[in-house]
Amino acid sequence: MDMGAHVLLLILLSSLLPGVAIFFLREEQFVLRTALNLGGALLKFLLIIGLLVGVYRDGKTYSLSVNLLPGIDLVLAADALSLLFATLSAVLWLVTTIYAIGYLEDSPNRSRFFGFFSLCVSATVGIAFSGNLITLLIFYEILTLATWPLVVHRGTPESFRAGRIYLAYTLIGGAVLLGAVVWLTLLAGSEPFVVGGYLQDLAADHGTALMVIFAMLMAGFGVKAALLPLHSWLPRAMVAPAPVSALLHAVAVVKAGAFGIVRVLNDVYGVELAADLGVALPLLLLAVLTIIYGSVRAVFADDLKQRLAFSTVSQVSYIILGAALAGPIGAVGGLVHLVHQGIMKITLFFCAGNFAETLGIHRVDEMRGVGRRMPWTMTAFTLAALGMIGIPPLAGFISKWYLGLGALEADMAWVTGVLVVSSLLNALYFLPPILRGWFSRREGPWPDERHGGRWLETHWMLLLPTVTVAAMALGMGLLASLAISPLYWVTFIVEFEYGYDHIWSAIFEWETP
Amino acid sequence: MATDPVNLQIYLACGALLFVMGVHALVVRRHLLLKILAINIMGSGIFMVLLGVAAGGEGGVDPVPHALVITGIVVALSATAVALVLMLRVKAATGLARLPRSGPED
């Protein structure tokens, strides 16, 4: 165990320990709670940056393992892919924490909220750093446990109903996943994740079993990724407070599912084996269906958060689509969307939260003229929504561009058609709020105006995170070619998977007509 | 007093039958006192089989089963004493010396 391994443990503990401590604080201990929250978030961020440098500069991977059962270890490991997800989580946790402090300023049970919030992030980071399938399963289940209290946080009957549905889906998903992982462990042992997968030797004898296991794994992770028949918990979970929606939808839960699918596809089965077994194509079709279905439902959703939720259903499947294309460029598109969608969607949820908290706006048709009242928030909303649609040069465009290239590379030109249709649908549900916000006039008072700030349109702790993430969303698109951009990092990851030359040659081939 | 194997068979069978009669009464009878008696009859049946086994050996009478049965009798007495007092407490608390019917057994 070297330094890096200790750092891994420290990264987990940097949110776990403050989380546990926060539970036992009294409601009025605001300063201490905030200090613990922000201190933990900052520490985690810095530690991850430190690891990032190590992995990038030295190409090193770190790992730490604890024995669970004979032959089965709990393994924490930092490779390029885990750092991508961990960085995303750490950054968004930091901003969401600030946002949540502002959002929940006077509401009850804040200690409980922030406690579970921290546990939730610990679980997410655990998922990111999982070094084998069992560890991934363990943190994935802990995530279920930690998010349920956040979903039911308001304690209203409808939030309990949402909580029940959430639990029903995720626990059943977890059970299926456990079955699959046990079965796979029996067949192949508890191997660490390895680029290209570790199941090639089994394909000859256990082909059918591997196919069934793959389906079970996809079902298990698909629940949280809101893959088509398993998506309906997500829109209902919108009863939770806005920071929870932001965190659940942008990072923790749905991304955990998507991340799991990417891990299984890349590092357990390996894209080649998945293609040989014929399981990649059904997954691709499912992802395509989910993309279209989510977009269509979003068009017809009147509630702003509902619309965003269905948009999430659709957008997360881009990540799965990218992985299922089974080629390097598609993989870049999918992975980079993991980050891009996260930042953009959290921006949108922050904006929705700001509208609701400041003016009591919940429905799309209530947004008339909001651009004049809250120009900063509305600008952020516009940037993120346009990015989602895929207007160049914003972040969403980059993802879709690579996904399209990946589809062409994989000889599935029809997928680009899907992307175009999906983008049109995106426009159809994102343009009306933008247009109404900027170009319609408000008649009559706002539904429930609370913050009548003199200088700022709303509380600064709500506004600052929103503007920050919006700026990041903008920056990721504009500065995509810089060495610090997610795109650059993702290409670095995919290099591992396919070899250095391959990827750049592939990209050059398509980028220079 | 050496016993003939034929006689032993009689006692062995009798022990088995006493045991089954006890089981039957324990399930069918509802008064707690009868249930307690039924358990004692079951015990007696078991002891009879055991003593029958002990008397059947070629190398003389086997003393170990005798010791076991004496132990068994004392244990049965202990259980009976507790059961009888418990029965009285149930009677005092519920007014009935039988169990409320709440399930398929008993």
Binding site: - | N7, Y11, M21, L37, I41, L51, I70, I73, L77, L88
Partner: protein, 100 residues
């Protein structure tokens, strides 16, 4: 000749004893009258100690007579007495409750 007679006599005794035991057990478990059941149980215990003698277990016969029939019988009788008293007490209480 006399050995055969002894054998058949003893066998007859065994059969008779066993049938009596089974019959007594059957009657006492039928439970028409609790007092009768208890008395039959004591009788059953005494018969049982006779059977133990036939099975060459005098120690057990002694223990059965003293503990199985004697002490258990006394416990059963006293419990039955207490049960009866609880019944009459409950009966009286019921009557008193009905009056007003």
């Amino acid at each position: 000749m006399s050995e055969a007679i002894t054998f058949w006599l003893l066998t007859g005794f065994d059969v008779l004893l066993v049938l009596t035991l089974l019959g007594v057990a059957w009657r006492l478990l039928a439970g028409r009258d609790l007092f009768r059941s208890v008395v039959l149980f004591i009788a059953f215990g005494l018969l049982l100690s006779l059977a133990w003698v036939r099975l060459s277990a005098p120690d057990v016969a002694l223990a059965e007579a003293a503990i199985g029939a004697g002490v258990t019988g006394a416990l059963l009788l006293v419990a039955l007495g207490r049960l009866r008293r609880l019944e009459t007490r409950a009966f009286r209480r019921g009557k008193r409750g009905k009056k007003p």
